[in-house]
Amino acid sequence: MKAKKSPAERPSRSMLFVPGSNAAWLSTVQVYGADYVMFDLEDSVSVREKDTARLLVHEALKSPVWAGVPVVVRVNAINTPFFRDDLEAVVSAGVAIVRLPMVTDAQMIRHLDAELGVLEGKYGSVPGTTRILAAVESASGVVNAVAIATASPRMMGIALAAYDYAMDMHTTHDAAADESQLFFARCAILHAARVAKIHCYDVIYADVNDTEGFLREVAVIKKLGFDGKSLVNPRQIEPLHNAFAPTPEEVERAHRVVAAAVEAEKVGMGVVALDGKMIDAPIIAAAHRTIRLAQVSGVQVAGGVR
């Protein structure tokens, strides 16, 4: 039986996509410090290479290169002939998280949940430990986001994919030009994620060389409350992490909030105050999040590496 660490304890700002057919990337991308790496068996793998990519991903998951790293694998959609084989290939190799694309309703998640249960039994994994990340890429997926997000205890996150969603909405997605067409979908999956207490990932930004546009979009989704974003190139990791890093001032204040809370608890005070203002539980929780984020971002109060 293989036990897995709960993904909720980890930072999850960045999810780096890697084509499951690319041997060089599967051999090297662990060094870039993405919070999650996602091996893709879906869009980036041609139909011709589905079989060999599955084998490559299976072997990669079992290899010492990826030992101890919780890897996400994007399988092909449920209604494709590849789904079952993909799932078996990755669960038999002990995958941590399965990203299911094209999710339109909660039934799909329950189906995946059941399949995972069967395969976990078959291959000796601890039942229920394989987590699910649902990607919604359609109007119905967005509308059903809450049901999807709460459909299984395996759910660790929900993600938006813009290309198909925009087409479904009779529009197009051009991140550099405008993001208003994604506004509703972003809000919808965010609400679903917060209701379900799971992570929420934004769309990819395809133009690797447009750092400015990328950062503009990152600023928008950070403000909205996203946990992170799907990435298509390692070069996007550092700018993303920097953008998500709290400022030294924010970190300092967070430490003071936590210290005040600890002090209040110690002396048995029910009410916590800092600088004459009341601090309630959500503020304390937010302060803990900021400190965690600062720790993974390398930010120190006394101005260290940024």
Binding site: T28, Y32, G33, G298, V305
Partner: protein
């Protein structure tokens, strides 16, 4: 009567041992052709003949054109046609473009080589043994100047390729068509060679100032169609890298420079060429602006990236022994703060002062680095020579913070090894290793480790990185060699620090 005869007493005791004036030498100044013919000869063959080059002599070259050098093979062809054999080929470095030297070795034209490094087929053939009658002497850039100063390496003829010079031999690398920029390595040859032959593409009007190679060191001048192809000085690597691994290593290396203890106003730095090194320079510019720190000077091979920092006012002076790209080459002309240093001034341990001794920070690379931080930049782990000693051990000896950057794994070949195949730079001169898998600090430098840790930089150990590499790659089999010594590695002071043995076939 010209009025000078009879003025000097022939028997004055006071003049004992002095030679009386015997009349002026016939003047060439009036005759333009005669003036020109003093040095300018019609062909390489004529230059070789007039130089008196004979069997067993030493000929020397510079490698400022790197992969674009066209001179060495031209000269060897002429030398062979003249029936001269058994030469020592002393180039400041040899590159992949010199594969045809193999034939000259086989035919007995070349029998000894002094160089900073080798690559391509020449390197592979020599590494397999049985080709060169005597092992290659591999020296550093500073070490070459020292070998010349000591007299061990004393070229009979230096053939120095320049894009243009005047008829007296005033030359620089910044005029004419094929500009290579600095002529820092060539300056040593011009200083020590018995006969200096400038091979130029063009003779321009006197005086071709500012001259780098000066007329008083030049014996002969020969015009050829091409001496080098400057577009191949930095083949493929002129633009900033987009390779994410290079960028990752560069960012970490920049963190180390920023927090390693020498990032203060007026500091000095050398970064080298290649994707990661160029990226370090770019990142460093951002950090300097953010922190309000300016560098006093930068040394070594100068790149366009470094020129950009200079022009933004972030680096005060550029001391250029070798221009790594055309931007650097042209900057020499327009930026008064960008000046040339000779290999001797740059790095020679025999010089009365060498710039490396004033250097604060150097970024270096490695083909292999062992658990004792010893570095190999000459041989691959398959035992074949494929790199160059360069200024590695010179700068490592001088600089106060020596940062080696390298990917931990190059297509399954771990960079960290138990024992380097060939020792170029002793580990006691290396402070920090930056890889894509993490940063580690030489245990001999606890202060550096503390500073990095205090800044929040995660520091691991070289043993941990080594273990990780083995876990991923498997353990590579040690290279099998024969007893034949094909290379002698000279440390910068001229001592022998290691030997390269032939790879068993």
């Amino acid at each position: 009567m010209s009025g000078w005869q009879g003025r000097v007493p022939t028997d004055a005791v006071e003049l004992a041992g002095l030679v009386p004036f015997a009349g002026p030498a016939p003047s060439t100044q009036a005759d333009k052709d005669a003036r020109r013919a003093r040095k300018v000869v019609g062909s390489l063959t004529e230059a070789i003949s007039r130089s008196g080059l004979g069997d067993g002599d030493t000929i020397s070259f510079h490698h400022h054109f790197r992969e674009g050098d066209l001179l060495i093979l031209q000269v060897l062809a002429e030398v062979e046609a003249l029936g001269i054999r058994g030469l020592t080929l002393a180039s400041s470095s040899l590159n992949a473009c010199h594969g045809d030297v193999v034939g000259y070795i086989e035919r007995g034209v070349v029998s000894r080589i002094y160089t900073s490094g080798m690559r391509g087929t020449l390197a592979a053939r020599i590494s397999r043994g049985g080709l060169l009658p005597h092992p290659v002497q591999v020296h550093s850039h500073g070490g070459r100047a020292a070998l010349m100063a000591s007299g061990e390496l004393r070229p009979k003829v230096a053939f120095l390729g320049v894009s243009a010079c005047d008829e007296f031999g005033n030359a620089n690398g910044t005029s004419g068509a094929s500009r290579c920029g600095s002529l820092g390595y060539a300056l040593v040859d011009a200083m020590f060679a018995e006969t200096v032959v400038l091979v130029t593409e063009q003779v321009v009007a006197f005086p071709n100032t500012p001259a780098v190679i000066r007329q008083n060191r030049v014996d002969l001048i020969v015009v050829v169609e091409r001496v080098g192809d400057p577009s191949r000085i930095n083949v493929g690597a002129t633009r900033t890298t987009t390779n994410p691994r290079d960028l990752l290593v560069a960012r970490r290396a920049t963190d180390v420079v920023e927090h390693g203890g020498f990032f203060v106003d007026g500091f000095s730095i050398q970064t080298g060429s290649g994707g990661a090194a160029t990226a370090v320079t770019d990142y460093l510019g951002e950090r300097m602006e953010r922190r309000g720190v300016k560098a006093g000077w930068a040394l070594g091979g100068i790149t366009g990236s470094m020129v950009a920092l200079h022009e933004r006012g972030l680096v005060g002076r550029l001391l250029d022994v070798q221009s790594f790209d055309l931007v650097a080459a042209s900057s020499l002309e327009r930026n008064p703060g960008h000046t040339i240093v000779s290999a001797s001034e740059y790095a020679s341990p025999a010089a009365k002062a060498a710039c490396v001794d004033e250097l604060d920070v150097v970024i270096l690379s490695a083909l292999e680095i062992d658990l004792d931080y010893n570095v190999n930049v000459l041989t691959g782990s398959d035992g074949l020579m494929m790199g160059a000693s360069g200024g590695h051990c010179d700068t490592a000896a001088g600089a106060k913070l020596v940062v080696v950057v390298a990917p931990l794994i190059r297509t399954r070949i771990p960079t960290i090894v138990e024992r380097v195949t060939t020792l170029i730079t002793p580990g006691s001169n290396v402070d920090v290793l930056v890889t894509d898998y993490g940063v580690c600090v030489n245990p001999r430098r606890p202060a550096v480790a503390e500073r990095l840790a205090a800044a929040g930089i995660k520091v691991t150990t070289i043993e941990a990185l080594f273990a990780r590499a083995l876990e991923i790659c498997g353990r590579p089999r040690a290279v099998e060699t024969t007893d034949e010594i094909v290379g002698v590695v000279r440390y910068r002071d001229g001592s022998v620090i290691d030997v390269v043995r032939a790879v068993a076939s």
